[in-house]
Amino acid sequence: MRLRVRYSKKGKVRFTSHRDVARIWERALRRVGLPMAYSQGFSPRPKMSFGLALSTGHESEAEFLELELSEDGEGEAIDWNTERFVDLAERLTGALPVGLNVVAIAPVEKGDSLQQAVTSCTWSIEVDGMDMEQMNAWVADVLARDEIVVERERKGKPVVEDLRPHVLALDVTGATETGVRLLADLGTQPRALRPSELLAALDPPLKAGTVCRMHQWMSQGDDREEPLTAPVAPAPSATVPA
């Protein structure tokens, strides 16, 4: 059985790395005693798969994880009703450090990996040192361009890349204490465009304050939907696209 979990990552814990979070999850799952399936081999590990990596230091309202439960039917069979999901979400949150909160859990069929299925993300980006007018002008400039060609290093070799197709939507939503807030939809295929790359795309580069991933989106024809919607209490009302 496969479970999809949605969780948030806020506060001090945002400074942990993707790899740290994977290890934190392993320990939390052992603490709540969920009967996990284990990989074979010399060093068996619980089977779990994470979605797109989140840069160290960024917050998120929409992180996803899939867990493979053991099928060998040891102990009591688990009746996955509503209460069980709510209870499990609460117990997992209790076993995770402050700042990591499970907001939804639902069973899913085995399908594409989350990394393949997700095509874009919505980011809330605090941009320091800009006012509304300057930021709107910057957004208009970006959106008006046909291409934004940057050179970056990939495996030690310089590659030239057009970022423009990855910039799906930009919206300046308001002022903050130190600048403005930008909402950005950025594409993730074939690779995810990072908010910092967007801000550095035009000269001079802009400086990001707090960055938070608000949504991850999967394409459904012309529509898009989230792998698991939130907030979900009780969890089972979550809609799970195939």
């Binding site: 790395s17 392993e26 320990r27 052992r30 005693g33």
Partner: protein, 657 residues
Amino acid sequence: MSSLWSELERVLAEVQKPARYIGCEDGMTVPDHHPDAVAWLLLYPDTYEVGLPNQGLQILYEILNERPDAEAERSYAPWTDMAEVLRREGLPLFSVETHRPAGEFDILAFNLAAELVYTNVLECLDLAGMPVRAADRGPEHPLVLVGGHCSYNPEPMADFVDAAVLGDGEEVVGEITEVVAAWKAAGSGSRAELLRALSGVTGVYVPSLYRAEFDAGVFTGVVPIDDAPPVVEKRTVADLADWPYPKNQLVPLTEVIHDRLNVEVFRGCTRGCRFCQAGMITRPVRERPAEQVRTMVAEGLRRTGYDEVSLTSLSTADFSGIQEVVAAAVADDACGQVSVSLPSLRVDAFTVGIAAELQKARRTGLTFAPEAGTWRMRQVINKLISEEDLYAAVEAAYSQGWRRVKLYFLTGLPTETDEDTLAILEMARKCIEVGRTHQRSPTVTVSVGGFVPKPFTPFQWFGQNTENELRRKVGLLRDELKRKPKIYRGLQLKWHDARASVVEGMMSRGDRRLGRVIEDVWRAGGVFQEWGEHFDIGLWETAMATHGMTFEDLVYRHRTLEEALPWDHLSAGLHKDFLWQDWRDALDELGLEDCRWIPCYDCGACTGFGIEHVVASAVPPAGGSQGTGQDRSTGGEVPVSLMARPVAEQDSEMVVA
């Protein structure tokens, strides 16, 4: 109380591994600050990854936070990138719990586990916004304490610390808290008065109340000024059962070394290895009751979510009932598959039974420490394991599915010949041969460290091998491997930097003059010297030359019985004549059996403190010769009697290589 978090979170994105600085570990205590409580900042002067798992620090952290009159937070040496950011932003060193400036605490207590971190202590003090020299600090500055194994010779750090604490910290931290609390409550006392009061606490050494004396540039002793105690004795807790700490081991959010549950099964060791400072200064043996170990393991695994537990001590296979404890941990399926690791394995106590229990879960690495390649050399260092012991242990490992074992050796030991050095490879080769009967391509990793003589060991009088000599010995091993690659197939050789051993040796037995050298190196940017990427011998050589000191005098020279040692005014409970006799015995290639089960050599550790070895069983664990040179492979009855100490010939020449 002021928190620096809002300033810090703006800059954390700029530094490597920012999770080092956020705290948030499971098991963390966030104290309610109240002005009357004594606020301790426990500092480990190395990176978070190295310092967080330190059990000593975690034990004191819990004990202090349980006291109503104390509160404790933690800090670690910021990596160089973070130090640069802090200085640029004008931010001080901070605690990881509440991100409160280090300077707001009453006490900064450093754990000194290794000599090469000394310059990091100065870096931390400077980042805390304090003068690094104790004499320059005023009543507004926190008290600076050091503890840990290096505090048995704190003289090189004497200029920078207010006090050094010797021995087990469990009880003494409470007594220090009470002295500081009373001083705070009085509100009017000078710093000098506080230091004088602290010097009255057993185990606390206040360097400023002593004077280091020299005669024509030769160190002649450390003497008390006024009425400070002439000798400061170490502290020893009698029974580990009274101290089941840490109860809530910290579980870090980011990867650290020893990232697993750690349960201390005993403290102290009486195997009597002559090179081993830990074994000498932590006597006597105090075992934790097996039932308490089982409880701490089971509860610890459930609470932390770890799937690995390490049973820690100086020689874990010596723990009575080790097999049952390992079996219980592995069989505890409440937490899924649990693997057990046993650091510091004695080969003569590692049996097929233990190997079989260990391999039931994921196999962790296995490391054995024969320390020397020939029986003669092992008698000199009193590591009385026979080759048969080693091969039996290695066979136990390979037969239970291990494909690789690690072997630790020392080079640069007293009386060592090239024949002894080269025997390391022969021993490793035979281990691989044993492995071939069980595994298709078994491997052995040989790790060779340069021997550094330490205070309060029989080898404290030995002149350390020079850098060139250590390098030559490692070269012998490398050349032999290169010449005969086929013969040594499956053998991998690793060695330590000989230059680092020299600097370590200098601090290990140095006197108070070294303060100037340490300060110079720190001022020249020499931090994180325990890290190969930062270690810079040139900085040390320059500072030594500036102050007219030489490695020849401080490191390579043999000491005599008559000369004063910089730690003679401190005591680890060991009689100096015991150590000297043991040194003579070493030169006569005379081994001494473990006193836990057989004779008492009157080293002083038990008698001086009115305590005895606390072992759960009067019978040593099964396996091997148990350091007795006899077959004790079945465990069983060992006659307990007082035996005459083997007497070495008194007129033997002192010959050291």
